[in-house]
Symmetry: C2
Subunit: 154 residues, 2 copies
DNA sequence: CTGCAAGTTGAAGTCCGCTTCAACTCAAGG
DNA sequence: CCTTGAGTTGAAGCGGACTTCAACTTGCAG
């Protein structure tokens, strides 16, 4: 019971639904061995990957980008603490930037919407190149560069 | 040219695609008069609504919730600065909370992933009731309460 | 009055991150 | 052995936020 984990066990321990784990595997974010009967068996190190995935999602990073990051881990050996630290470092910067933008948004909210002006072009809130992107999914751009605003996906 | 705006003008001024504006209208987030020829004409006050919508989205709020908020504006008169301020105030708290959680996540990232531990249950990062929810779309819960983790949509 | 950009509609498509389903097969306790 | 719960697959569905398309109508400049 502790060489490897079944999908149910990994699910319980990570808090991620089995269906999601299979989905992650399809996308190449995690890997599993198979038993003779074709059932998945996960190495314990996959727990760390799953944790990394979930935490990264909270930073607002897409599964595709997370996959790219995970792909940069050494394939030959089990990733070390430094390997993980390296990945985390990049996220940290994005997180910091996100925090900065949200803080600015809040401050602007006080000074701008708070006063009822909210007049788009005059308003610092309405600065496209500054948008907190990567928040929602959907929406690719219709216009090449929409002139004024947060360029969708905002 | 300045009593009301065509959809193209509103789009240009707000930076929101015409298709999105029509979509917002279907959802009841904005309103438009019609010309004799059935074309939309927007009052200039709609600009403020659109701005509010886009800014709210950046705070991570769904269109449905934004609609509810906008519905609480007085229907009889043009919303005043205080009306807008009241709406913004609620958002401000959510924004502050979000900032708090992201900051915590970043700090934990330093102390936890940074060191390579990342062991889920022991880790403060893996605290479900604390998750930065409302970040992504998709994913309703499969399990009623998934035991340990960010309960999807994280 | 004509020509053409801009507007209209409903239906369908897209992307993301999963979940759900049906129809099975596997693994392990009694 | 048998039952039962856990696992397997591919295909389809969902929610959110739009975009795209086709087929057509309006509005305005020249």
């Amino acid at each position: 019971m502790h060489e490897s984990l079944t999908i149910g066990q990994l699910s319980t321990r990570s808090g991620v639904a089995p269906s999601a784990l299979r989905y992650y595997e399809r996308l190449g974010l995690i890997r599993a061995e198979r038993t003779s009967g074709n059932q998945r068996r996960y190495a314990r190190t996959e727990l760390r990957r799953v944790a990394f995935i979930r935490i990264s999602q909270q930073v607002g990073i897409s599964l595709e980008e997370i996959r790219e990051a995970l792909d940069s881990l050494p394939a030959s050996r089990t990733p070390s603490a430094e390997d993980w630290a390296r990945l985390s470092a990049a996220w940290r910067e994005r997180l910091t930037e996100k925090i900065r933008l949200m803080t600015k948004l809040r401050d602007d909210l006080d000074g701008c919407i708070g006063c009822g002006c909210l007049s788009l072009r005059r308003c610092t809130l309405y600065n496209p190149d500054d948008s907190l992107s990567g928040e929602g999914p959907g929406a690719r751009l219709m216009l090449p560069r929409p002139a004024v605003a947060p360029a969708s996906t905002a």
